[in-house]
C-alpha cells in the first residue's frame, strides 16, 4: 500500500460547520460503554483517532486495561495437550466465554484463554472479532506481540469454504463477503497470507460481481455497497495481481495463451470500469447502498472507501457528499445518524467521519481506505508491530 505524508488541510470548506468538538464528546461517551461489545469499541476508538484526540481521550490506565481485556478474549491452543479439534477456534471472540480465563500470575503476560478438554465447538473466536481486536490493539499502542499468529492462520484455513468464501466461525452458517474482508485484513495485519487459498478466494470475489458490476454478498445476489467495499478492499489488501482487471489485461511479451490465462485467474476484477461506474452512480447527494435505496450516511464510507481504493475518489462530488453528512450529524449530541433527523449511533458516526476524512476535512486525520484506519495508524502497523517491524 502506498503511504503518503500526513497533511492537515488548513482551509475550512465553505458551507455548514463540521461539529468536531461535539463528535469528540459523542465518541467519549460511547467509550464509557467499553468493555463491550468490541466492534462498537473499535468505532469509538477509531473515531477519536480520526478526530486526532485518541491519546488525550483515553487515560494510560484505561488504555492498558483495554489491551489486557482484548487479550483476555483471545482463544489459544492448550499448552499441554493441543488438540486438532480446536484448530478452527483460534483468534479473538466476543466477551462471553465458556472458557476458563487464566488470570496471569505475577510477571506473566495475559495471553488469553487456552482451549481445553471442555471446549465446545461453539466456544469459538469470530473472524470479525479477530479483525476488530487487531485494529483496536494497534490503535491502543500494543505491538501485537501476544497475538497467536500461527493458531489464527490455522483457523483461517478451517474457515475458508470450498467455494473460496469465509465463514466467521466454525459453527456458523453465513459464508459471505464480510468475512472475506475480515480474513484479508487479518492476513494483512499478520503479514502472512498462508491462511488463505488465494485462487479460490479470487474466484469467489469475481463470481460475486453482478451484472450491474457491484459486488454481492455471494454469487447470484444483488449488488450492495457494504459488500462492494469488502470485496474491493480485500483485493487491494491481497495486492499484486489481485487488483488487476480481467477485461483490460494485456498479454505480455512472450507470454503463451496458458500463461496469460493463468495470470488472468490471478486478477480480482471482472470489469473494473463497470465497478467504478456502479459505485459512482450510487452517489445521490451522499450515497445509497443499493440501486434506488435512500441515501444513508454509512455508504458515504462503504462506497466512498471502495472508490478511494480503486483510486478514483476525485470523481466523487465532495460538495454534495459533505452537504449530506453535515445534515446527518446530530447538532446537539454529536455523532451521525443513518438519515437526516435520526438519532446518531456509533457505526454511522464513525463512517460519517471516515468519509469526511477521505475528502480531507480539516480537523480529521487522513484515512487509509483499505484497512479503514488512519494513515498514522497504518504507519504504526508497519513500524511498531511485531509482524511488520524490520
Amino acid at each position: 500500500m502506498a503511504t503518503t505524508q500526513e497533511t492537515q488541510p488548513t482551509t475550512q470548506p465553505s458551507g455548514p460547520t463540521f461539529q468536531r468538538e461535539k463528535h469528540i464528546q459523542y465518541f467519549k461517551r460511547n467509550l464509557q460503554m467499553l468493555p463491550e461489545p468490541m466492534t462498537l469499541g473499535l468505532f469509538a476508538i477509531g473515531g477519536l483517532e480520526l478526530l486526532g484526540v485518541l491519546e488525550e481521550a483515553i487515560s494510560e490506565a484505561n488504555r492498558k486495561a483495554w489491551i489486557e481485556w482484548i487479550y483476555s478474549q483471545q482463544r489459544i491452543p492448550s499448552k499441554d495437550s493441543p488438540s486438532e479439534d480446536d484448530d478452527a477456534l483460534y483468534g479473538f471472540g466476543g466477551p462471553f466465554s465458556g472458557l476458563a480465563f487464566q488470570e496471569p500470575t505475577d510477571g506473566q503476560q495475559n495471553l488469553g484463554c487456552e482451549c481445553n478438554s471442555h471446549t465446545t465447538p461453539y466456544d469459538t473466536a469470530h473472524l470479525t472479532m479477530t479483525y476488530t481486536a487487531l485494529l483496536s490493539l494497534i490503535m491502543l499502542g500494543d505491538d501485537l506481540s501476544r497475538v497467536a499468529k500461527e493458531p489464527i492462520l490455522k483457523s483461517l484455513r478451517k474457515l475458508q469454504q470450498p467455494n473460496g468464501c469465509f465463514i466467521p466461525c466454525i459453527t456458523d452458517y453465513e459464508p459471505d463477503m464480510r468475512f472475506v474482508y475480515c480474513a484479508a485484513a487479518v492476513s494483512y495485519i499478520l503479514n502472512d497470507w498462508s491462511g488463505i487459498d488465494r485462487p479460490a478466494l479470487l474466484n469467489f470475489i469475481r463470481e460475486s460481481q453482478t451484472y450491474e458490476h457491484g459486488f454481492a454478498q455471494s454469487p447470484r445476489h444483488e449488488a450492495h455497497g457494504g459488500t462492494t467495499y469488502c470485496a474491493i478492499a480485500s483485493l487491494g489488501l491481497m495486492g499484486g495481481d489481485a487488483f488487476l482487471d480481467q477485461r483490460t489485461m494485456v498479454r505480455q511479451e512472450g507470454e503463451t495463451d496458458s500463461e496469460f490465462e493463468e495470470r488472468r485467474a490471478r486478477a480480482g476484477f471482472v470489469d473494473l470500469e463497470g465497478t467504478r461506474r456502479w459505485c459512482l452512480q450510487r452517489q445521490t447527494t451522499g450515497f445509497q447502498g443499493r440501486t434506488n435505496k435512500p441515501t444513508d450516511t454509512c455508504y458515504s464510507f462503504w462506497i466512498g472507501g471502495a472508490i478511494a481504493a480503486i483510486g478514483s475518489f476525485d470523481l466523487v462530488n465532495f460538495e454534495c457528499n459533505r452537504g449530506f453528512l453535515m445534515e446527518t450529524q446530530h447538532k446537539a449530541f454529536g455523532g451521525f445518524g443513518k438519515w437526516v433527523d435520526t438519532y446518531p449511533d456509533v457505526l454511522h458516526s464513525y463512517m460519517g467521519i471516515a468519509s469526511l476524512a477521505l475528502m480531507g476535512e480539516p480537523g480529521i486525520r487522513p484515512l487509509e481506505p483499505l484497512l479503514n484506519i488512519s494513515k498514522r495508524m497504518q504507519e504504526r502497523l508497519y513500524n511498531e508491530t511485531v509482524f511488520w517491524k524490520k
Binding site: H118, E174, D271, T295
Partner: protein, 705 residues
C-alpha cells in the same frame, strides 16, 4: 428516489420521560447481566436441560445479535435434546419449535444475520425440511420490508435448495423459476420502485429464456416492455423501471474502428496507426515486409503517444536500428490484439494495411518533420490477403458470414431492421412521456440513450444521424437545467455529441459498417471555437490538422495535443487550462495561444514539453511560441514582458515561450496570416519590446524517459 424527508423525525423527549426511560433501562440492564451470569454457569457446568434453554431464550429475546448465545443454544439443543431424540418426529418437533422462536424474533429484528442463520441450521439438520413453508414465511417478511436483502438472499437460497433436490427434473426447476418470476411481479405491483424485485426478475428472465423458442422469447420480452411502461407512467421519477428498461434494451457492443495507418518517417521507418478510441495493446501488431514474395517480420517497437506509452488511440511503430524493409510494409492487427479501455467495445475482425515505401521523394515531405502520407493505405479483410499471416493462435481470423444483431438483451435477429424497429417503437413511447413530463430527468436520459443506440445503426453522414445528434445535444442542455447536480456529466456528454457533429468532415463510414475511417481528403483547418467543449473526446480524429481553433471553450487539459502529430497552430485562448501536457508528439507545433487561461507556474508550462527519449522533438529540435497573456503566471511576474525561455539540456531542443502585448500579438497574427496566404515561411521578429531573461527553469533530464 430521495426519500429522506419522508422519514419520521425522532422527537426530543421531555426530561420526565427521559428519566422514566432511564430507570426502565437500568432495570433491563440489570436483568440482562444476571441472565448472562446464569448462562456462564450453565455452560461451565455442562447443563443441557430445559432450564438452560430457557435462559438462552430470554437472553436472545433481549439481545438477538449475540452470536455466542445462538451457538450455546445449539449446543444445548444438540447435546441435551436432539442427540437423545428417539425418532425423527421428536427431532422435527424441536426444530419446528426453533423455527417458530426465530420467526417471532425476526419480526422484531428482520435484519439480524444470526436469526436467518439459525433457521438455516434447523432446516439443513431436519430430516424433512418444509421448504415450501419457508418460502411462504420469507414472503411475509418481504411484505414487511420489500427490500430486505436478507429476505431476498434467503429466498434465493430456498429456491436453490429446492432446485438441488430436483436436479433431475428440469421441468420442476423451470416451473419454480416461473413461479419466482411471478412473485417478482407481485412485488413490483406493490411498489414499482422495488429494485430488488426488478433485479431478481432480470436474473430469472435469463434462466426462463434459455430453452425458449424465438417466438416465445419475443412474446415474453414484449410483455416486459408493457410492464415497464406501466411502471414508468405510474412514477416517471423513479429509477428502478427505467434501469430495467435499459437492461432490457441492452447496449449494442461498439466496434473499435481503425481510422487509418500512415508512414510518418522513412529513416528510420515510423508508422502511425490511429484508433477511434483509447486502446491497450494485448499483442504487438504484426509488421512485415515482402522480400521475393515472402513476408519477413520487421523488427521494431510499438508505443502509444503520450506519457503512458501502453495506452492510447494513436500508436507509433519505430523500426529497430539496422532492420531492412522492402517496397511494401504490411501491418496486421488481429481483433484480440487490442482491448478497449471503455467497456463493451471490441475490434470486430482483423485488419490488414499495406503501406508503400517506394515513393520516398523527400520533396514531398514538407515542413520540418515530414507530412503525413495520406491516401496510400490499402485496407483488406485479412481473408482476402494473399500469403500467410498467422494470428497469435496460429490461425487466420475470418469474419462471421451472417452476423446476428442484438434486438434486446434476450433476443437477436439476422436483420438490423428488427433492432431499428424496436428502438423506434420505444423512442416514440418515451417521447410521449417527455412531452407529458418535460422536467423529469429519467425519460430524457433514456430517450437520449435510445437515440444513441439508434444512431449506431445508421451511416454517420446520414440525415438521420444529424437529426439524432442535434436532438441529443438539446436533451443534454435540458438535463443540465433540470438536474444541476450532474451538470458536469451532461456537459461531457454534450461535448462528445458536439465534437462528433463538428468533425464529420474528418471521418467516413468504412466498408465494414459500422466501423469508420479517415476520409480520403483530410481538412487541415478546424474551427471549434465557442462550442462549450469541456474536453476533446477523440483526439486521434485531429491527427492530420495543421490548425485548430479551440478559442472560448471550457477545456481543462491539453493532453489531447499528444495525438496532433501534424499540427502547427493551436488556439486555446479563453479556456480553463492550468498546466500544459501532451506536446511531446507535436513536432510541427509552432504557435500555441493560451491567453486568458489559468496557468500559474512556469513549471506547469515546462512540464508540457517533456518528451520521451525517442520522440520527434528530441531528434530534430523545434521552436514553439506559447502566448500566455493574462495568465496568472504572467500577471504574477509583473506585466508587459516578453519572456524568453530556452533550455538545451536535452539534445537540441529549444522551446521559446513568449508573452506579448495585445498589440504585438495582433501584429504577429497578421504576419502569420500573410504567411499562410503566400505559403512562405516567415521569420518572426519582435521589435520594440523588452526581452527579459526569466529565472532558469530546473529541467530534469531524467524526465525525458
Amino acid at each position: 428516489m430521495e426519500s429522506r424527508h419522508g422519514r419520521k423525525k425522532e422527537q426530543a423527549e421531555s426530561p420526565e420521560a427521559l428519566k422514566t426511560r432511564e430507570e426502565k433501562e437500568t432495570v433491563l440492564v440489570r436483568e440482562y447481566l444476571a441472565l448472562k451470569d446464569t448462562l456462564k454457569e450453565i455452560v461451565e457446568s455442562n447443563k443441557r436441560d430445559n432450564d438452560a434453554l430457557k435462559v438462552t431464550t430470554a437472553l436472545l429475546r433481549k439481545s438477538p445479535d449475540y452470536y455466542t448465545i445462538w451457538n450455546v443454544r445449539r449446543t444445548i439443543l444438540k447435546e441435551g435434546f436432539l442427540d437423545n431424540a428417539s425418532d425423527d418426529e421428536t427431532a422435527n418437533k424441536i426444530y419446528t419449535g426453533e423455527l417458530e422462536f426465530v420467526q417471532e424474533n425476526l419480526k422484531l429484528n428482520p435484519k439480524s444475520y444470526w436469526m436467518w442463520n439459525h433457521r438455516r441450521w434447523c432446516l439443513e439438520s431436519m430430516s424433512q425440511p418444509r421448504w415450501d413453508k419457508e418460502l411462504a414465511m420469507v414472503g411475509k417478511f418481504l411484505e414487511m420490508d420489500a427490500r430486505n436483502f436478507h429476505g431476498w438472499d434467503y429466498r434465493r437460497y430456498i429456491i436453490r435448495q429446492l432446485d438441488l433436490k430436483d436436479k433431475e427434473a428440469k421441468d420442476k426447476v423451470l416451473e419454480r423459476a416461473q413461479s419466482e418470476f411471478d412473485f417478482t411481479i407481485t412485488k413490483i405491483h406493490q411498489n414499482f420502485s422495488n429494485y430488488s424485485a426488478w433485479h431478481n426478475r432480470s436474473t430469472l428472465l435469463g434462466k426462463l429464456a434459455e430453452d425458449m423458442s424465438t417466438e416465445e422469447r419475443e412474446a415474453i420480452v414484449d410483455n416486459e416492455f408493457d410492464l415497464v411502461k406501466n411502471a414508468i407512467y405510474t412514477d416517471p421519477e423513479d429509477q428502478s423501471a427505467w434501469l430495467y428498461e435499459l437492461w432490457l434494451i441492452g447496449r449494442e457492443e461498439r466496434s473499435i474502428s481503425i481510422l487509418g495507418a500512415h508512414v510518418i518517417s522513412f529513416h528510420p521507418l515510423e508508422i502511425v496507426v490511429a484508433f477511434d478510441e483509447t486502446v491497450k495493446m494485448r499483442n504487438p501488431f504484426t509488421v512485415s515486409t515482402r522480400v521475393d514474395h515472402v513476408a519477413i517480420p520487421l523488427e521494431g517497437e510499438w508505443k502509444a503517444t503520450g506519457s503512458d506509452s501502453a495506452l492510447g488511440s494513436v500508436w507509433i511503430f519505430q523500426q529497430a536500428p539496422g532492420a531492412v524493409y522492402g517496397p511494401t510494409v504490411e501491418i496486421v492487427i488481429f481483433s484480440d490484439d487490442v482491448c478497449a479501455v471503455r467497456a463493451g467495445s471490441k475490434l470486430p475482425a482483423a485488419v490488414c494495411y499495406e503501406l508503400e515505401t517506394l515513393n520516398q521523394n523527400l520533396d514531398e515531405i514538407s515542413g520540418r518533420l515530414g507530412r503525413l502520407v495520406i491516401g496510400q493505405n490499402l485496407m483488406y479483410d485479412v481473408t482476402k490477403r494473399i500469403g500467410p499471416v498467422t494470428g497469435p493462435d496460429g490461425t487466420l481470423e475470418t469474419q462471421a458470414v451472417h452476423p446476428k444483431h442484438r434486438v434486446t438483451s434476450l433476443t437477436e435477429s439476422g436483420s438490423l431492421d428488427d433492432r431499428i424497429a424496436l428502438l423506434e417503437r420505444e423512442i416514440s413511447a418515451v417521447r410521449e412521456l417527455v412531452e407529458l413530463e418535460p422536467d423529469c430527468k429519467w425519460p430524457i436520459q433514456i430517450l437520449s440513450t435510445l437515440l444513441s443506440e439508434l444512431r449506431k445503426t445508421v451511416s454517420i453522414h446520414s440525415t438521420q444521424a444529424k437529426v439524432i445528434d442535434d436532438e441529443c445535444i438539446e436533451l443534454q442542455e435540458k438535463l443540465i437545467t433540470i438536474d444541476p447536480l450532474r451538470q458536469e456529466r451532461y456537459e461531457d456528454r454534450r461535448t462528445q455529441l458536439v465534437f462528433d457533429r463538428e468533425t464529420l468532415s474528418i471521418i467516413q463510414d468504412s466498408k465494414r459498417f459500422p466501423e469508420i475511417e479517415y476520409s480520403a481528403k483530410q481538412p487541415t483547418n478546424l474551427d471549434l471555437s465557442m462550442r462549450g467543449l469541456t474536453h476533446i473526446p477523440i483526439s486521434s480524429y485531429l491527427l492530420h490538422l495543421h490548425t485548430l481553433n479551440l478559442d472560448s471553450n471550457s477545456i481543462t487539459s491539453t493532453r489531447f495535443l499528444r495525438n496532433l502529430l501534424n499540427v502547427r497552430r493551436v488556439n486555446l485562448s479563453n479556456n480553463l487550462i492550468e498546466h500544459l501536457e501532451g506536446m511531446q508528439h507535436a513536432p510541427s507545433l509552432e504557435f500555441l495561444t493560451l491567453e486568458n487561461n489559468m496557468i500559474a507556474k512556469w513549471e506547469d508550462v515546462v512540464a508540457g514539453f517533456v518528451f520521451w527519449g525517442e520522440g520527434k522533438l528530441a531528434r530534430t529540435g523545434g521552436h514553439v511560441k506559447v502566448l500566455l497573456g493574462n495568465n496568472p503566471v504572467v500577471v504574477n511576474e509583473g506585466g508587459e514582458y516578453v519572456l524568453e525561455k530556452r533550455w538545451e539540456d536535452v539534445g537540441k531542443v529549444g522551446v521559446e515561450i513568449q508573452w506579448q502585448s495585445e498589440e504585438l500579438r495582433l501584429a504577429e497574427e497578421a504576419l502569420l496570416a500573410a504567411e499562410d496566404e503566400t505559403g512562405a515561411v516567415g521569420n518572426m521578429v519582435v521589435d520594440g519590446t523588452r526581452r527579459v531573461s526569466a529565472t532558469v527553469v530546473e529541467f530534469d533530464a531524467g524526465l525525458a524517459h
